[in-house]
Amino acid sequence: MNFPIISSLILLPSIGALFLFFINSKNITGIKYVSLFVSIINFLISIYLWLIFDQSSYEFQFVESRVWIKDFINYKVGVDGISILFIVLTTFITPLCILSVNSSIKNRLKEFLIAILLMETLMIGVFCSLDLVIFYLFFEGGLIPMFLIIGIWGGERRVYSAFKFFLFTLLGSVLMLIAVISIYWIAGTTDIEELYKLGIDPKYQNLLWLAFFSSFAVKTPMWPVHTWLPDAHVEAPTAGSVLLAAILLKMAGYGFIRFSIGLFPVASEYFVPFIFVISLIAIIYTSLVALMQDDMKKLIAYSSVAHMGFVTLGLFTFTQQGVEGGIFQMISHGIVSAALFFSVGVVYDRTHSRRINDYGGLVNVMPKYSILLMVFTLGSLGLPGTTGFIGEFLILMGTFKKSFLVAAIASLGVILGAAYMLWLYKRVVFGELTNQKLLKIIDLNKVELSILTLLALSIIFFGFYPDPFSNTYSVSVENFINEYNDKINNYNLQNQ
């Protein structure tokens, strides 16, 4: 048997966390270096995995499978062209989060880093698992560290937000658990590869789809169950917001591809109008809400809801462009929203205010920051040359194939997106420097500069040259669409 590279990716952060547990909590430098070291090693492993990944095959690769619960569930992990990008995204964002704790986390640093590393394990696990039960374990397990991250290190209303986050997500997920168990009894297995081959009886699909949807819709989050997200984002510490926006939300989008559409094609086809409607509401409504926010983090949180609306729209077009666009948009949003939350974190650490009105004229005192924030703003609104553009463009292309009206309304969202982001930028960076506190503000320090520059570079680089991403997933997506169409055609033939 080959070296279990995926399992080591999953386990390494946990081992690091265990190691941290035994370090004296006063040894702050040691704690930081250990966690940083572990997460960077993990990033390198994932890059290596990406390099040796065979892009011309749509099969799951590096599959590991062993008996876990006897006669019941196997531990099975592996990656394909879709999931590997999310793993790289996770391992890329986590070290940045760890770097950023320097200024934002004052107390209980050790526990915080343990929580972040455990989170990394769980997030990678979600993207690798090839068994529904294993997936559920990782998916739900993330609740515990995230609850603590928001609740212990969050802002003033942290308790309310932590509870809301926890209970909303748990409520959505228990229905998914019922669906997972039902699938086991209907199909006799929870192995995803086998389920793809066997298919699930169409007469059960609608209910199962709804059960999965209830979980993913909360996590995505889709309108109208998105209300936990602004609260959670606003109260979470910077690193928590970044993880939440960049990766946790992607779990649901990934779940839609892998499970909702992959396992229940007939039901997905049936629910397309439903998804389109709530995605459009999410895009337009939350963009309008975002326009009216006076809290920076809240504004970005609402923009996340709108962007994830684009993602669901793209995924449910079932066209090559739409699905690829959805995946690209998720990666792009992962980088851009992480960057935006880091940027808010930078000024929040200095002034302890997130209110937009407290800022203005930052360009006079923080030129470097202003330039980088410009890149992120443009990335978020989807200017050509940034990653945001490619995702939205592909999604709209895919949507036009399906329905002109939907695409036209969705395009309106792009304009609104530009409006709230540019207005935010104008109010924060330009204008008169009226707030006296801001006079003494210092520009980015080295760590912050390197985090933000790295993110800005990746936004621009992959904006001009998206091939590394698109080459990785295109074969898998093509196969995904073909299988989907085959299953739908088969179903239609049987019903004639």
């Binding site: 609850f147 212990i152 228990v174 658990l177 168990i181």
Partner: protein, 471 residues
């Protein structure tokens, strides 16, 4: 010739009880000695019990006493948990002035009663065991006799329990009347045609047993009794009688009444849904940890009953796994309660946990793991317990039960994470003492570790129950 070898555990316990009584009567200041000796007796009893390993079911005393793999397993579980309970409550017992010679002896007699209950294959034997168990527990509940709450809880427990025993006896007599036997096997043979008298009898027996495991709507005594009794007795209430009574549930339902599955299934589902939902909702407003854990155990019993209601071997096995994980979590939880003391005064209010994580990081870490596990969040053991139960439930397409059960876990999660919030997010208070006995610390750390790493190899615990085949 009756093979007495197979009941050597019971014989050994009875002889030890008598010997300890003699020692207690004739020797001055022998309390601590008797307490420690009881722990050893439990361990020896456990060793004897494990050593039995019956290859095939054995019937004793004219088929009124049954020894098989299932009963032996449950007896071992009872003995181990009794040992752990005794070990972790030693300091509490010493400091609260309840270390009298009767205390360990009463526990031993109640355990003897449980062992008899578990093995009984006859209504009369079963009743004798049940009463031996309950009588000892009444006294234990009121053991802090100068304390008004403790006396109240003892009295309350006694009166309500006597009422339920009455109902149970009435049920037994109905069964006897309509099936003309008290032996389980004969009842099974004689009750093939469904007679309403027998159904009435079953309902009365189920009511009596539901009372013992605090299933809704026969739960009303639990919070008061849990709260009033000394904590060292509460932990016994929370664990031991429930294991025994649930086993008797299984023995009854899947023994003499198996043919009437259609009749009793609805009753069990009703008990189960009621307990799950009520336990979850009622615990939200509680301010005392012991009351809270009482409601939480009501809700947990609902889940165990859900496993029994499906009528398959998997259902029974999963209920037993649930019970084992439940008792690990409860023992660990009570260990934490025993650690909340300052200058020999014990604390049991929710607000006493405030800011615990700053002063006692390890204790609060353990308690957090336990609470998340009680709430059923993966990947902790509590999640698997529920997962197995619902696997069995959904296999029989009982979706309503599954959905209600899982939604009640969301409600229950609220009050568990409220405790975590109090520990981790609130302001800290004074420190608690750190001079705990090594046994207490060991039990807490080991049980929390088991809860935490159960997912790595679930088969270790699951293998115990695989051989239980009652149908």
């Amino acid at each position: 010739m009756i093979n007495l070898f197979y009941i050597s555990t019971e014989i050994f316990l009875s002889l030890s009880i008598l010997t300890l009584l003699l020692i207690g009567v004739f020797k001055n200041k022998s309390e601590l000695f008797i307490y420690n000796f009881t722990c050893i007796i439990l361990l020896v009893g456990l060793a004897i019990n494990i050593n039995l390993k019956p290859e095939f079911p054995i019937d004793l005393f004219n088929n009124s006493y049954k020894i098989d793999y299932f009963t032996t397993l449950i007896k071992s579980v009872i003995l181990i948990s009794a040992f752990l309970v005794m070990l972790c409550s030693l300091n509490y017992v010493k400091q609260n002035d309840i270390l009298k010679i009767e205390y360990p002896i009463l526990i031993l007699s109640s355990i003897l009663g449980m062992l008899v209950m578990v093995s009984s294959n006859d209504l009369i034997v079963f009743y004798v065991g049940l009463e031996l168990q309950s009588l000892a527990l009444y006294v234990l509940a009121a053991f802090k006799r100068d304390n008004i709450l403790s006396s109240e809880s003892g009295l309350k427990y006694f009166i309500l329990s006597a009422l339920s025993s009455g109902l149970l006896l009435y049920g037994c007599s109905l069964i006897y009347g309509f099936s003309s036997s008290t032996n389980f096997d004969l009842i099974y043979q004689n009750s093939e045609s469904i007679e309403y008298g027998i159904i009435f009898g079953i309902v009365f027996i189920l009511v009596g047993l539901a009372f013992k495991i605090t299933a809704v709507p026969f739960h009303m005594w639990a919070p008061d009794v849990y709260d009033g009794s000394p904590t060292s007795v509460t932990v016994i209430f929370a664990i031991l009688p429930k294991i025994a009574a649930l086993t008797v549930f299984i023995n009854f339902l899947y023994g003499p009444f198996l043919e009437m599955f259609d009749q009793w299934q609805a009753v069990i589902i009703f008990l189960s849904i009621g307990s799950m939902v009520f336990g979850a909702v009622a615990a939200i407003g509680q301010k005392k940890l012991k009351r809270l854990i009482a409601y939480s155990s009501i809700s947990h019993m609902g889940f165990a009953l859900a496993g029994l209601s499906v009528g398959t071997n998997e259902g029974i096995q999963n209920s037993i796994i649930y019970l084992i994980i439940y008792l690990i979590m409860n023992i660990a939880f009570f260990c934490c309660l025993f650690m909340l003391k300052r200058e020999n005064q014990y604390f049991d209010k929710v607000e006493d946990l405030s800011g615990l994580s700053k002063n006692h990081p390890l204790l609060s870490l353990c308690l957090m793991i336990i609470l998340f596990s009680l709430a059923g969040i993966p990947p902790l053991a509590g999640f698997f317990a529920k997962f197995y139960i619902f696997t069995a439930v959904i296999e029989q397409s009982m979706y309503f039960l599954a959905i209600v059960g899982l939604l009640s876990t969301v409600i229950a999660a609220f009050y568990y994470i409220r405790l975590i919030k109090v520990m981790y997010f609130d302001e800290q208070k004074e420190k608690y003492d750190l001079n705990h006995s090594i046994g207490l610390k060991m039990i807490l750390v080991i049980s929390s570790t088991i809860i935490l790493i159960y997912f790595i190899n679930p088969n270790i615990i699951n293998n115990f129950v695989l051989d239980i085949t009652l149908i």
